[in-house]
């Protein structure tokens, strides 16, 4: 009987193999190789403003507790995809860049202050920012050739950033960990402020 660790290693290898295949296949597009899984996967990871906001969503989910901790990772990609569709079909949404920078400030403060509003309030806040993030990235997506792989990589990377936030946020069960998580919220808010003010 393989241990759970071996199963996890096997699952990770399988995931990596599939990930590699995404960039190698020339299935969906006429021009090969410029799109693909790795392109979509790295796209959100290379935008620091996107990274800190996604991590903040995960961190905040921990403070909000169940069911928010799992509702947000389920709902966020869907709303973000909707925003991405808006971006692609060029639905005019003003202040998207401001919304992205503001998302880090607001979500960072929510984490720093350990706010626990009702779920519907949290969903509206997170959903609104998800539209902004999706819109910005969706507008850039048509350049990709292998659109299925690109979209899959993009969504998985965003989801993994959430999980990173949740994993780090789970330290909050200890007093020192709670302090560390709230400090991370402060850092995220400060970084968002830097983006918002144009310092970065």
């Amino acid at each position: 009987m393989p241990s759970n660790k071996n199963r996890a290693v096997g699952a990770m290898i399988w995931l990596l193999a599939v990930s590699a295949a995404g960039s190698a296949l020339a299935h969906a597009g006429a021009d090969h190789g410029s799109g693909g899984f790795l392109s979509g996967f790295t796209h959100p990871l290379l935008g620091p403003d996107h990274v800190i906001a996604m991590v903040a969503v995960g961190l905040w989910g921990v403070f909000l507790g169940a069911p928010a901790i799992w509702v947000l990772p389920v709902v966020f990609p869907l709303v973000m995809a909707l925003g991405g569709a808006f971006g692609m079909i060029e639905v005019p949404i003003p202040g998207v860049e401001i919304g992205i920078a503001l998302s880090a400030v607001v979500l960072g403060l929510c984490v720093a202050l350990a706010l626990t509003p009702p779920l519907w309030v949290a969903a509206i806040i997170v959903g609104g920012f998800a539209i902004c993030h999706g819109y910005a990235h969706g507008a850039e997506m048509p350049a990709a050739s292998d659109a299925v792989s690109y979209a899959l990589g993009f969504v998985i990377a965003t989801g993994l950033l959430h999980l990173c936030g949740i994993a780090f946020g789970s330290l909050a069960r200890w007093p020192a960990g709670k302090l560390a998580v709230r400090a991370a919220g402060v850092l995220i808010a400060v970084a968002g402020g830097a983006y918002l003010s144009g310092v970065v």
Binding site: V9, I13, A20, L25, A28, V74, V148, A151, F154
Partner: protein, 205 residues
């Protein structure tokens, strides 16, 4: 220890094999059997459709699995035969993504329909997914034997994949496992929405 020793080389092989894939349906250098076997795994749209259908089938119960998995296998075989009869097969990426979208959206909602409705919906989507996979995975080799081997391997690969995913979903009785299935459904739905919006934009420009 033995399992770890077998997992690592298998993973390395899987990692390396797709690097030679430059054309639709043909994985260069791996032979007809492995090209066909790996096709449902390395073509993202096929993978999404099969995984989403598998999740839906699995959460619909064992009786649905007993009906839907053979349905998918039969549809894959029918699609492969159909593809060999027509001159040119259209791109099946959009139909595959549509099937993935519908199946994954149902999984994401976590809604439970009456058993007979769930069984019919899951079987219907499995049939569509299978047909699209069969058409999409049509062997490109001109040799009859090679095409036969590749087609049989695709049938095996797609049936094995949906069986594994359905079994995992069927056994997901813990809360976190059901959430994990919903998260997977959500990610597939989001990916499908992005792709379909992309297709809409590129087709209208």
């Amino acid at each position: 220890m033995r399992s770890r020793r077998s997992i690592v080389p298998a993973g390395v092989l899987l990692w390396l094999i797709p690097q030679a894939a430059y054309a639709h349906g043909s994985l260069e250098g791996v032979g007809d059997f492995y090209a066909g076997l790996l096709h449902p795994v390395v073509v993202p749209a096929e993978l999404l459709a099969i995984v989403a259908s598998g999740l839906l089938i699995g959460r619909s119960g064992l009786s649905t699995c007993r009906r839907a998995i053979p349905t998918l296998a039969g549809a894959v075989a029918a699609g492969l035969v159909l593809a060999s009869k027509v001159a040119s097969v259209p791109d099946m990426t959009t139909p595959l993504t549509l099937v993935a979208l519908v199946a994954a959206a149902v999984v994401t909602t976590g809604l439970r329909a009456p058993v007979w409705i769930a069984a019919w919906v899951a079987s219907g989507l499995a049939m569509l997914a299978g047909l699209a996979v069969g058409l999409d995975a049509a062997p490109e080799t001109n040799a009859l034997f090679g095409a036969l081997v590749s087609g049989i391997a695709t049938l095996l690969g797609s049936t094995a994949l949906i069986t594994i995913v359905a079994a995992l979903a069927l056994r997901a009785d813990k809360h976190w496992q059901r959430i994990a299935a919903q998260v997977a459904g959500s990610w597939i739905t989001a990916s499908a929405v992005l792709y379909l919006a992309h297709q809409l934009v590129t087709s209208t420009r």
